[in-house]
Amino acid sequence: MGMRRWMRVARMRVRSLVLLRRVDEELNEELQFHFEKKVQEFAAQGMTPEAARCAAMRAMDGMERRKEECRDMRGVKWIQDLVQDASYGVRMPRRSPGFMIIAVLTLALGIGANTAMFSAVNAILLRPLPYAHSERLVDIEATPMMNCPVPDFLQIQAKSRTLGPMALVGDARGQMTGAGAPVSFHFTDVSADFFPMLGVRPLYGRWFLPSEMQAGNEHEVILSYKLWRESFGSDPGAVGRKVMLDGASYEVVGVMPPDFSLPARTPLWRPLVLTADEMAHRYGFSSALADIRPGRSTEEVQAELNVIAAQLNTSNPNLYRGVRYQTAPIKEGVVAGARLPLLILLGAAGFVLLIACANLASLSLARGWARRPELAVRATLGATRGRLVRLLLTESVVLAIAGGIAGILLAFWGAAVLRQLLPAGTPRLNELRVDQWTLWFALGISVLAGLMFGTAPALIASRENPHEVVKEGGARSSGALASRRGNWLRRVLVVAEIALAFVLAAGTGLALRSLSRLLNVDFGFRIDHLLTMVLPTPASERRDPNFDARPYSRAILEKFGALPGVKSVGGVVGGIGGLRPMHLDGMLDPNIASRPAIMLDTATPKYFGTLETPSIAGRDFAPSDGQNATLVAIVNKRFAQAYFGGANPVGKRMTLPAWLQTKPEQVEIVGEVGDMREPRAPAYRAWATVYLDYFQYREGGAVSPVVRSIGEPMALAGTVRAVVASVWKDEPVEGLTTMEQQLSAGTATPRSRAMLLGTFGALGLVLAMVGIYGLMSYSVTQRTHEIGLRMALGAEPGDVMRMVVGQGARLAAAGIAVGLGGAWALTRYMRSFLFGLNSNDPLTFAGVAILLATVALAASYAPARRAMRVDPMAALRHE
């Protein structure tokens, strides 16, 4: 198209839109001119003026239709129609307020739930991490080691041409003193490129200087926002202060902003300076970040890493046999665990919206039926079917956008609720907010929802033959095509709603049942009135190979036992209430490798008594054991089952493995106790466990005391800290909490998931119930005449009741059957979140089926009652 012509066309379109009235007046004038000429022509042929006008009118063949055809030529007609239909849609509430309120509320719930969930998905899964060009940052992982050892890192750094700066991130553990109470934690050692690569500026202070990255100069730390708040009271003067890490002095040079948490939840960062020995041999846990060079693809990086791995495999097969390197976007490492639960919740919200749409489609069908006279008049006046469909669809979309706006308001609140309700361990929770993408999403699903629930009703309502309707004068007609199609569609919609609600309810049911199993686990000891804590050995003493914490432990336990309000005291290292467990395999006999892994814990006398773990055979540890030549052990039931076939193990002997750093020693079993489940282990696993006597076996570390209180356990907290401080200077008391709190912290995640899923499940159920009620109620109204006839012919009210409820029951049965299939297919995605039950748990499914059947029958009951009370005479006369 030539430029001039294009300009001309554009000018015409704009003129048609902006000067609409003027353009229309010109059209009138143009046709009027023609008309008058025509009249003159006929008059000249000798007609009377009156006859000439009539003849001219006929010759013009319907002036209005011609005008409409001319308007259609303007190319902007659709815009004008849209504005007209939309304004018609906006005026709709005045005509049917009830329909509008129900529709907007239903949509607001559906769209609000989805928008809020999307704000979480967007903030956590979709938005790039808040680092400089974070899309280019990758983790490098060496398999089979599952991390990136230092020598491998150095090899890759030296050889790679596709990777830019690389940073080594090492895990460290230590104790910090000099700021608030002593704390010990895992923290992070980072190499020089770490902060510049991520590009996040500190809130206060600065990054490490290159000079601070050299051996002997690494005396600086950078604090996380959380540690700064908790241990430094959010004091901006923290920069420059000195803290002690494992007895060495460090200066705080920076505080990072709250959003910066890499690796997740690390409290502080320290320069990583490698010794020559570490460069060659450090295989402890460390990971590697790398910045892909601009213009290089991940495939190129992977190809290069494959080459490097192959070279190392050949040049040093002893060290690198079978080693492979892989990259993963760093976002993957941060959010991978949160993906499935979030997507499940988003899916659940999506189901709620689908149910809402099904309800609205059903409502619109009924309204389309009621509006037949209006539509028929429009059709008679020249509206084409396409034009009617557009009118009805525009109304639906306007309605959906109104619902969407209400939904967005709900979503702002919903996002705030989600920040509280999503499990506390969810990454990037503090970044969750309703941003512009969320608003676009809300707008998008609103329009989509409008089209979804509006299309079928619009097609059906516009199919009606206008002459039929006008002839009827708007009265009911029982056999019209549209009515039958509409009813068929409404039934399909209700079946779909029940099926969707079934899947939602099944997911909720599984989550709730799993939660109830978690809450009712028998741990094998008494949960209440139990105070637990961990006493990490101070760093200075940990470095001394001859240090023995046992005298401190003994003194602390004795003083605890003497406190008023304390019923009993024991201690353990390893298992319950203790530190990270040790795994031992095949310690007794090489032939039993297939038996369960063994935990080796040490415990003090009265430990089992304090926990109230049942004793099955033999005796407790005794103070006198210390003098015995052979080590004594107590085993649990699971161990006895696995290694002694359930026979009484008391008196049996076994050998400790050599690497336990004592000379291989014989151990004599003196007792058997019940199994205890580990409250912090995934799925509360119970292990086959061997307990040695803490005071007899040289453990090194301090014991973790467990205190059975008479009153509220936390009331003892202050006294307990004071006792420890009096016995052992600078010894931190960590994890001071009750067993009940520990357990409820452990169930917080499944609890929050069940709650969110339950919210969506309940919403879906209510909406489905409204849908069934709407259909049954409408169908009774439509069939009033038929019901009256039946009753006049002798049907009892009971028969009518059965007929209506029977219809509801058939729909429910169909919906439940479809839902069962859907749930069967979908609940398996929940498998990893379920405790102690299968994702196709038959009991849950049966319960949900009964629930939905009940809901469906309850929803058809009220319309059925109404049907029963139909007065046959009135119903027939009404015709």
Binding site: E30, A56, M63
Partner: protein, 111 residues
């Protein structure tokens, strides 16, 4: 008088463009001219002319302006634009090709 012939699909545009190429005209005059030059063979019903004219105007082939008609009444006069003249040449060429082809077919001798 035999029945006036319907327009072959798309040829109304060609005819309108050709008539307007002669001189700017209003709708009524176009109709009169059409009857006159075609010996009353080609006729359009009184109303159907206007949607066609509006379409051509929207496509930028013709331009409309209000002028006084012979008896001093305001009327909408259409004239060909430059793009319209090009379009006319093209449609004329198309038509000539098509009519020549059809004439060839029709004149085939039957065996």
């Amino acid at each position: 008088m035999s029945k006036p012939m319907d327009f072959v699909q798309g040829t109304l545009d060609l005819v309108l463009l050709k008539i307007l190429a002669l001189e700017p005209m209003n709708g009524w005059a176009i109709m009169q001219r059409l009857k006159q030059v075609s010996g009353e063979v080609l006729q359009v019903s009184d109303g159907s002319l206007y949607p066609a004219l509006h379409k051509l105007e929207q496509q930028g082939w013709i331009h409309a302006e209000w002028k006084l008609s012979e008896n001093n009444r305001r009327a909408k006069f259409y004239s060909l634009t430059r793009a319209g003249r090009k379009q006319l040449e093209q449609e004329k060429a198309n038509w000539e090709r098509l009519s020549a082809a059809i004439a060839q077919v029709v004149r085939l001798k039957e065996a």
